[in-house]
Chain length 232, copies 2
């Protein structure tokens, strides 16, 4: 890892616990509106709509942010579940993606990793959302980078290359940290170093995703283990 | 100031003391190379080349970063002063813009302002340079924004508008903080709120620039005074 100079981090699932945060917010929204539903199932289905929504958005002529995409997918998912949530409460849920709890190791782990490397987000969340999310969670990166700055969405290779370029680094000097194999495969495809972090509670199952089968992949149980393996 | 939600900061001169930092680095570089010169005069002339270099760069077909522009202007200025500094030492001086000392009130003042507002750089320095500069100085912003993200340079209105857009804010919700009237006039021209900070030592003269004559301009003696006037 002699050449590694900067780390870029996936955010949803890797640094923050979207599922329990959104389930809690949806349960509250339902209570306020007097609407009952299987909120964990709604939340999981909403999240499953995320990759195809991004894929569609990449082919649209003008870039739209995650708030716009999640507003649409939430409406679809609620309709499918037969849940009639008022527009104001739907908007609360869209905005909840700015108030997702960090994993227990995120605040201290990110500080430790920042001691050894330049750190950045590299998320499909837009800059404004990420700024709110980082402030909410009280964690820290050197710089907020987003797919927005490439006017695309991961796993488009352009997003990873734009991240490295904005950091003034060659792709091989940048490590991509994620709990998702697909993100790392795409990053490694354009030369970034893959660093996999197991997040067994992302879907509330206790079972993490399998790491990607990539040469030189680092597999870590959380951010402290990652920092230890990287020597910081 | 009820609507003000975010502050974007000019950096060179407003948050960091470029002049004494560059004079020191140039004096050291000259000593190492055995070259004598009036380094404060070279430094001031180098800085005076900065606005016209940016103006020329805005009209070039592809955007170039500050390192590239400052490499050129340094060579011009050294030639004009009859100073023959080796290429390696010239590069040290170009890179010195990543290691500029913050003003004495910057670290604490930026933390205080971050308690009340989302804070961002909005500098003509590129993202990679700013990341190094913020780490070097140990100060903190929520997000590093740069003219690079508009592929232009201040005072192009596009830079201020891109900053507000990336923060998800209307221009009137964003305050531009700078020690330079021209920066604030351009920002106010597209609706940002002008916040002027006196920096009497920017040019080593003890005399700050005059504040701009703009409606509603806030004029502050440093960041603590600014924070007090903004109620944070």
């Amino acid at each position: 890892m002699a050449e590694l100079r900067a780390l870029v981090f996936d955010v949803f699932g890797t640094l923050v616990d979207w599922r329990s945060s959104v389930v809690d917010a949806a349960t509250e929204a339902g209570r306020r509106a007097g609407v009952s539903a299987d909120w964990p199932a709604v939340t999981d289905d909403w999240r499953r709509e995320y990759p195809p929504a991004l894929a569609r958005a990449r082919n649209e002529p003008s870039w739209r942010d995650l708030d716009a995409l999640q507003r649409e997918t939430l409406e679809d998912v609620l309709t499918r579940h037969g849940v009639d949530l008022p527009a104001s409460e739907r908007e609360v849920l869209v905005q909840t993606w700015r108030r997702l709890r960090p994993w227990p190791d995120t605040v201290a782990g990110m500080d430790r990793l920042r001691g050894g490397f330049v750190t950045a987000t590299l998320s499909n969340g837009h800059v404004a959302l990420l700024v709110d999310l980082v402030r909410f969670g009280g964690w820290r990166v050197d710089v907020v980078l987003s797919a927005e700055l490439a006017a695309s969405y991961k796993p488009d290779p352009a997003v990873y290359l734009r991240g490295a370029q904005l950091l003034g680094r060659a792709p091989k000097e940048v490590g991509m940290v994620a709990a998702h194999a697909g993100d790392l495969e795409a990053a490694a495809g354009v030369g970034l170093r893959p660093l996999f972090v197991r997040r067994p509670d992302e879907w509330g199952t206790g079972a993490p995703e399998d790491p990607p089968d990539l040469p030189g992949v680092v597999v870590a149980d959380g951010l402290d283990d990652l920092a230890a393996q990287l020597g910081c």
